[in-house]
């Protein structure tokens, strides 16, 4: 055996060099080179060649073209299996309805292609590559978790597929100057600082306890709140992180209680938030206010906490909490998936909005070619998504900034009164 490995070795080095030189020889810009090299989509190649439209020729990423009878695909990378499956399944279900509602563009129907990325970078990159090499994907509503997103962005960047993430809140994502990445997820920075101000000024909290679930979302939020709160002049008496997925946080809460804070800000999601809210009473935090975030908002929080939840705060994007559209969606979701939206994750509506917004943008840029095909110029689409203005969704009104943040309004604060979320006094 090892007799043969050596020649093989040599052979492979040769192969490597040859291959290494091959792309280097082509003078085209990287993106184009990759496009060519990945042999992505014979269709794309053919259209760029065959399409009479000047648009596609001028577009560095070319057009996605759809023969009559085919569907325009919107991708979504979401964790469908593993510990975070509920988020992926829920958000993709929301998006499914959005795609169904979106109607058609010049007679071409939309279709959602939701793939499992397990919420981590490996899966995210896998899905991104899958979409990148699928010519019928025009845009991606996702990804859901920041890790997967971070790994996916550079890949979409290469092929010019715009993203609109409903829930990837990692602030760093919009600082790398990516052209394709946008999010309608509620930006941590505004939410956090606003929450801190609200705690200090309106609720007159002097000693704040910060608890987060160690996720990039929860921790990021907690850090911002802490910074702003101290800047306002309050004192952060204790900061603790919990291990998500567990169900007994009495120990950590007892430790927090010993610092006797006036309020506890929790950065994280409903599951842990509800448990903490429940266990505050028995651990000596009965006087402290529970202050959650948009991750802990939702009907599920109420059912889980019951009486314990009274007086708990949460922050949400300033949407009309119950518009007609929202009701329609809720009923549709309920009878299609048998659950009320928001039970599996707080992002059901955001999932709908991401897909719907993308569809609406696609409608603006797509056109029917002389040869009866539908063309979607990719670069145009990327810029169009980035220029999204005043789109009214179920979870807020979105206007994308130059860095891809599309949901930067001041948050609105809600409080649980007699078993229901009601707007808190400003």
């Amino acid at each position: 055996m090892n007799k043969f490995l050596k020649p093989v070795f040599v052979l492979c080095i040769a192969a490597f060099l040859f291959a290494g030189c091959a792309p280097a020889a082509t003078p085209a810009p990287t993106a184009a080179a990759t496009e060519a090299a990945t042999a992505a989509a014979p269709t794309v190649a053919s259209t760029t060649a065959a399409a009479p439209e000047a648009v596609c020729a001028s577009d560095p990423f070319g057009c996605a073209s759809f023969a009559p009878g085919t569907t325009v695909k919107i991708g979504m990378g979401a964790p469908m299996t593993g510990g975070n499956a509920s988020y992926g399944i829920d958000i993709s279900q929301g998006a499914t309805i959005a795609v169904a509602d979106a109607g058609d563009v010049h007679g071409w129907k939309f279709e959602l292609d939701a793939e499992d990325d397990q919420g981590n970078a490996e899966g995210g990159a896998a899905v991104a590559n899958k979409f990148a090499s699928d010519p019928s994907i025009v845009a991606v509503a996702g990804h859901i978790f920041s890790g997967a997103t971070a790994a996916a962005v550079p890949i979409y960047e290469k092929v010019g597929i715009p993203m609109l993430s409903p829930s990837a809140t990692n602030p760093a994502l919009t600082t790398t100057g990516s052209k394709v990445f946008n999010r309608i997820a509620f930006t941590d920075t505004n939410q956090g600082s606003a929450a801190a101000d609200y705690l200090f000024n309106t609720l007159k909290v002097k000693n704040l306890a910060l608890v987060h679930d160690g996720s990039d979302y929860g921790k990021g939020l907690a850090d911002i709140v802490g910074a702003q709160f101290t800047k306002d002049g309050g004192a952060v008496v204790v900061e603790q992180a919990i291990t998500p997925g567990e169900t007994d946080y009495t120990a950590v809460l007892s430790a927090v209680a010993s610092k006797s804070p006036d309020a506890l800000f929790f950065g994280g999601y409903t599951a842990e938030g509800a448990i903490i809210c429940n266990q505050m009473k028995q651990t000596g935090l009965d006087k402290a206010i529970f202050f959650g975030d948009d991750g802990t908002y939702g009907a599920d929080f109420l059912t889980r906490t019951g009486a314990n939840g009274e007086g708990a705060y949460a922050s949400i994007a300033p949407a009309s909490p119950d518009s007609a559209a929202k009701d329609a969606f809720n009923t549709a979701y309920l009878d299609q998936f048998g659950k009320a939206p928001g039970t599996l994750s707080p992002y059901t509506w955001a999932g709908y909005d991401a897909a719907a917004a993308l569809a609406s943008v696609v409608k603006t840029v797509a056109f029917v070619g002389s040869d009866g095909k539908l063309y979607v110029p990719r670069t145009a689409l990327v810029t169009a998504v980035r220029n999204l203005k005043g789109y009214v969704g179920l979870s807020g009104t979105f206007t994308c900034q130059s860095n891809g943040e599309c949901n930067v309004d001041k948050p609105q604060f809600v409080v649980v009164k007699s078993g229901a979320w009601v707007p808190a006094q400003q």
Binding site: A19, A22, D116
Partner: protein, 530 residues
């Protein structure tokens, strides 16, 4: 027909019935069915499954049940086989009918079980009744299973007709002979054919990355990295026989070394790819040494749990608040700069070749070690540590060495992985990842290279292929894992020891004279000498 056999085939039916009910409750039937009809070319709508799809699924399951029932006994007359399949079909059909009968009741009483059994929407239940209403639907369910099971029995019956079997055997044995001829009789011919084979193989490997697009480049790249991981773990588990469950920790160390040294955040030391790669390997090896030193006394599962703990410690520390400033905390590290080739950054094809090279390097090293004094010492330790020590093997030293080299492999894989994804975060390196690698080497067949290759593909490629089955893929994966272990406990490719070329036995066995032994002593200085 004997009573026992009768009961047996009836029970077979019951088991399949339970399987069927389970499939229906998780709506697996709809998914599988729609896949089947997609092959035929019927596109099924997303919301409610087509009757045709469900029928396709039912027929498939029925056939399977019938075949299993009929093949139960080796020597059984055709008649018995047919009877068995009939009875099985009857019991399966019964179960299916009962299920849909329950559905019918729920439908007519407007009871919605979805709060608990999330898939049982009214449309779905109607679909399970083939939209035929109460009586017809139930009857149809029964009949489909009954008939298809009988069909399966018939199939086995025909199969076992002597004429058919003999014909099949002829057809089957022919290619074997042919291949044997092709490989050649004498060792020399074999070598030549081998060379040709490998040449072809690697020509293909050299072409593929350019051909098959970024997605498959990515998937196969991941497979490649897991091959390296697998080989590394094979040195530890397969050769030196230490069960290590936290192996991914070394991978994490490699990945983070690469990330911290080549990302603008949080440190912006920009070392460049190659130095980082080397450092990653060294650090991983060192960490292997450090964790290994105190633990060499531990046996089997104690080592397993301790290394598991080590893996978790690394992961938690990486995402903890304590080290956030250093490791980027839960956000991980993004925008990792990759290597450049003639001034332009690596694209997926370049990475693919890089990985292929790394894999070949790993295979080469593994292969050299496996058949050396070191490798034999490892095997001795695995087989019987006490005796190994009594035959002069410094077991602790060799166990440590195994751990270090294995860790180094992991470090290499991790560094390339991080650089290729341009991102790494703490949750990449969870316990499940370690377990994946362990599964990989055992599924493939422990301690041998082809097994590792196959295993890596099975463990990392399969889930990608299984994307077709959407949310069911992990379910199917788990089931496959169990099935594979039961069918092939030794792994897909059981490893056997190499046949060394021994000098001819001399007719009169004369003892080794001292001259031979003094020859064995090396002449001249050697830098690698201890």
């Amino acid at each position: 027909m004997k009573k026992a056999a009768l009961r047996q085939s009836f029970n077979t039916g019951i088991i399949f019935g339970i399987a069927h009910i389970f499939c229906v409750l998780i709506a697996f039937n709809a998914m599988l069915g729609s896949l089947l009809v997609k092959i035929v070319g019927i596109k099924s709508s997303a919301t409610t499954p087509l009757a045709s799809a469900l029928i396709a699924y039912a027929v498939l399951l029925g056939l399977w049940a019938g075949i299993t029932a009929a093949r139960r006994k080796r020597e059984a007359s055709g008649k018995e086989r047919l009877q068995a399949s009939l009875i099985t079909g009857f019991s399966v059909g019964l179960m299916a009918a009962l299920l849909v009968a329950v559905f019918q009741v729920l439908l007519s009483d407007k009871i919605n079980p979805r709060d608990y059994l999330t898939n049982l929407s009214f449309p779905f239940m109607r679909a399970c009744l083939f939209q035929l209403g109460a009586f017809l639907g139930i009857a149809a369910n029964f009949l489909i299973f009954f008939l298809s099971s009988f069909l399966g029995g018939l199939f086995v019956f025909i199969w076992n007709l002597p004429a058919v079997t003999s014909a099949w055997h002829k057809a089957f044995s022919a290619p074997k002979v042919w291949i044997a001829k092709l490989r050649g009789e004498t060792g020399k011919q074999r070598r030549i054919t081998n060379i040709i084979f490998y040449a072809l193989l690697f020509a293909v490997i050299a072409i593929l990355p350019i051909e098959w697009g970024s997605y498959w480049n990515y998937v196969m790249g991941t497979v490649g990295l897991y091959v390296i991981l697998g080989l590394g773990l094979n040195i530890i588990v397969g050769l030196s026989g230490q069960l290590v469950l936290g192996y991914i920790a070394f991978f994490a160390i490699g990945a983070y070394t690469m990330a911290l040294l080549n990302a603008p955040e949080p440190h912006n030391w920009m070392w460049g790819f190659w130095p980082a790669l080397i450092l990653a390997v060294i650090l991983a090896a060192l960490s292997g040494l450090i964790i290994g030193l105190p633990l060499m006394r531990l046996r089997g599962d104690y080592l397993a749990i301790v290394t598991l703990g080590f893996g978790e410690i690394i992961r938690i520390l990486l995402k903890s608040d304590v080290l956030t400033s250093f490791t980027g905390g839960p956000r991980g590290i993004q925008d990792i700069h990759g290597p450049t080739l003639f001034g332009k950054p690596f694209n997926d094809i370049d990475y693919m070749y890089l990985i292929i090279l790394a894999v070949i390097l790993a295979i080469y090293i593994y292969n050299r070690l496996q058949h050396s004094r070191t490798g034999r010492a490892w095997l001795a330790v695995r087989e019987d540590e006490t005796v190994a020590r009594a035959t002069g093997v410094d077991t602790q030293r060799y166990k440590l060495l195994a751990l270090m080299i294995g860790a180094a492999f992991a470090g290499l894989a991790g560094a390339i992985y991080a650089s290729r994804n341009a991102f790494t975060g703490p949750d990449e390196h969870s316990l499940m990842a370690s377990i994946n690698v362990l599964c990989l080497i055992i599924v493939g067949g422990m301690g041998n290279i082809p097994g590792t290759l196959l295993g890596a593909f099975a463990l990392k490629g399969l889930p990608e292929i299984l994307r077709e089955v959407e949310n069911y893929r992990m379910l199917v994966f788990g089931a496959l894992l169990v099935a594979m272990m039961i069918i092939r406990p030794e792994g897909l490719i059981p490893s056997q020891r190499p046949t060394l070329e021994l000098p001819e036995d001399s007719p009169n066995p004369n003892p080794p004279d001292l001259a031979v032994r003094s020859e064995a002593k090396p002449t001249g200085e050697d830098p690698h000498d201890r």
